[in-house]
């Protein structure tokens, strides 16, 4: 018969002591690294976009929000491209991200993306474009994915891609109507500059960008869906009105 030998109490004590000693030593090593400024060679930053209406988290149904003009509305779609992200360091160095990021409120995994190989340091400004610069805003430039093809701006209307599709419903006397703010054509690009006070020293740093959809209806122009044209794609002037309103849609 095989007899299993139980570990003795003294052996258990020795093991526990060893684990404690190892843990303390490991902690000391970690804390000494911080204090002496031993940092990773590069940092990475996860940018998450948080969609809100004023201070509320965005919900897609029902018609429940009110814009500056008093229209009650809902959001059914919000898709757009964020590109040319630039981070400015306190010493003036610049980190530039060449990628074009597709954002779709219905696709959770599109709501955040990671910038890597960032030189550690304190960063004082983030810049980015909503849309795609004129060099790259050409039909067929982006990889032919289903999302990119669905964002195509018709060639007969200058081609390239939709920069933004913001769609929803609004009520007039309890009757639902639709609106669709579609931005496209290269001159509709929106450039954002937002001051930062963020140290990026480690991997997996995070920055949350707030995107307030109600801002698209106001400042400088109160956009009244009952009065103004709720479909703007065919009108350069209306595209510009919504574009101007969108300049303060993003904040930290």
């Amino acid at each position: 018969m095989k007899v299993e030998k139980k570990p003795s109490l003294s052996f258990l004590n020795w093991g526990i002591t060893a684990i404690i000693v190892f843990s303390i030593s490991f902690s000391i090593v970690l804390s000494s690294c911080e204090k002496t400024g031993v940092l990773p060679q590069f940092s990475s930053l996860k940018i998450s976009i948080h969609h809100v209406i004023d201070t509320e988290d965005l919900e897609l149904f029902p018609i429940q929000y009110m814009n500056e003009s008093g229209n009650t509305y809902s959001v059914t779609d919000m898709k757009y491209y964020v590109s040319s992200i630039k981070l400015t360091k306190q010493n003036g160095d610049i980190y530039f991200d060449q990628q074009i990021h597709y954002i779709d409120i219905k696709k959770t995994n599109s709501l955040s993306f990671v910038l890597d190989s960032i030189e550690p340091g304190k960063y004082i400004k983030i810049e980015f474009d909503l849309g795609i610069d004129s060099v790259r805003n050409q039909t067929g430039f982006l990889l032919n994915t289903v999302d990119n093809l669905n964002m195509a701006w018709p060639v007969s209307m200058e081609g390239g891609y939709h920069f933004l599709k913001f769609e929803g419903k609004y009520n007039i006397n309890s009757v639902p109507y639709g609106f669709a703010f579609h931005l496209g054509k290269s001159k509709a690009i929106i450039h954002y500059e937002i001051n930062l006070n963020k140290g990026l020293y480690y991997w997996n740093e995070e920055l949350i960008l707030k995107h307030d959809l109600n801002e698209w209806f106001k400042t400088p122009s109160n956009y009244n869906l009952e009065v103004d044209e709720p479909y703007i794609m065919n009108s350069d002037s209306l595209i510009n009105v919504i574009r101007q309103n969108g300049f303060d849609a993003f904040s930290l």
Partner: protein, 330 residues
Amino acid sequence: MKSVVCILSIFLIALSCKKDGQIEPVETLTFVSLEAPVNFPEIQLNNSNPLSIEGIELGRKLYYDTILSSTGKSCSSCHLQTSSFTENTSNSQSHVNLIWNQYFLRNGQIEGTLEDAMLFEVESFFHTDISKLNQDPLYPKLFKKVFGKTEITSKEVAFALAQFLSTLISSNSKFDSYLKGQTMLNSSELNGLDIFLTERGDCFHCHSVGLMGDNSFHNIGLDLTFNSLNWGRYAVTMNEVDKGKFKTPSLRNVEFSGPYMHDGRFSSLEEVVEFYNSGVQVTAYTDPIMTKPGKEFGLQLSNQDKIDLVNFLKALTDTSFLNNTKFSNP
């Protein structure tokens, strides 16, 4: 087949071990790759089911074989090639360009790969008696050659069907030739294209150029009220916002894929265009694209515009696809 443009000519010698340990080559597979046509999304092939000439042929044989069902029906009973792999009576969905699909069935009940969709068809639609395949004098050898297994399971049947269906690519219509600068559309078709590609008709927002669909779901205003027969996507998500949404169908070969809509309520393209022109029902669930002020109840196209839009839709017919003998009953 035209879609299989890049035969890699990689000949895999599958090796099997004899009982005495001696290794001998028993099978040779010819692997192939698929290349996305112009204006189509990149193809994401399933690495766990590499395409081979033999696998595609096996899938094709199965597609036309009633052995999959106990009712004397095959896939092809409801998916006729001449009707762009649809069938009038059953109002079945077109088996065209499915390799780009992420959602299957009209409400997207099946999400995933073509293999996932075919597994559903084998196990839950046909309730295939796999033992019939295992006892068949020919199939075990064919499956052994493609998948290297002596026992056939639902998985291998689904994988073989998926291989065949992934080759059913239609990309050679008159409109495709026009986009390549090889053909001119006539004036009626050009006006139809303008309606299609601008906010006059706004078709392109859901029927993106290329797939002529968007792999998404929309409520286009067919009904005022909703019940279990027209819940659509809501039946899957139970999310209120999805009531009455159905998957956007591809318009490839739409001339031959009637009847139209999830319940086949329209028998002709003229009826479909007239619905968009004057029959859209506005509810809280109707897609915003369908309810423009001044066009709340349709596009208000002229009679000539309606004719032109239908003519453009017919320019999406790909006769080389409909007549391709590599897709027909072997």
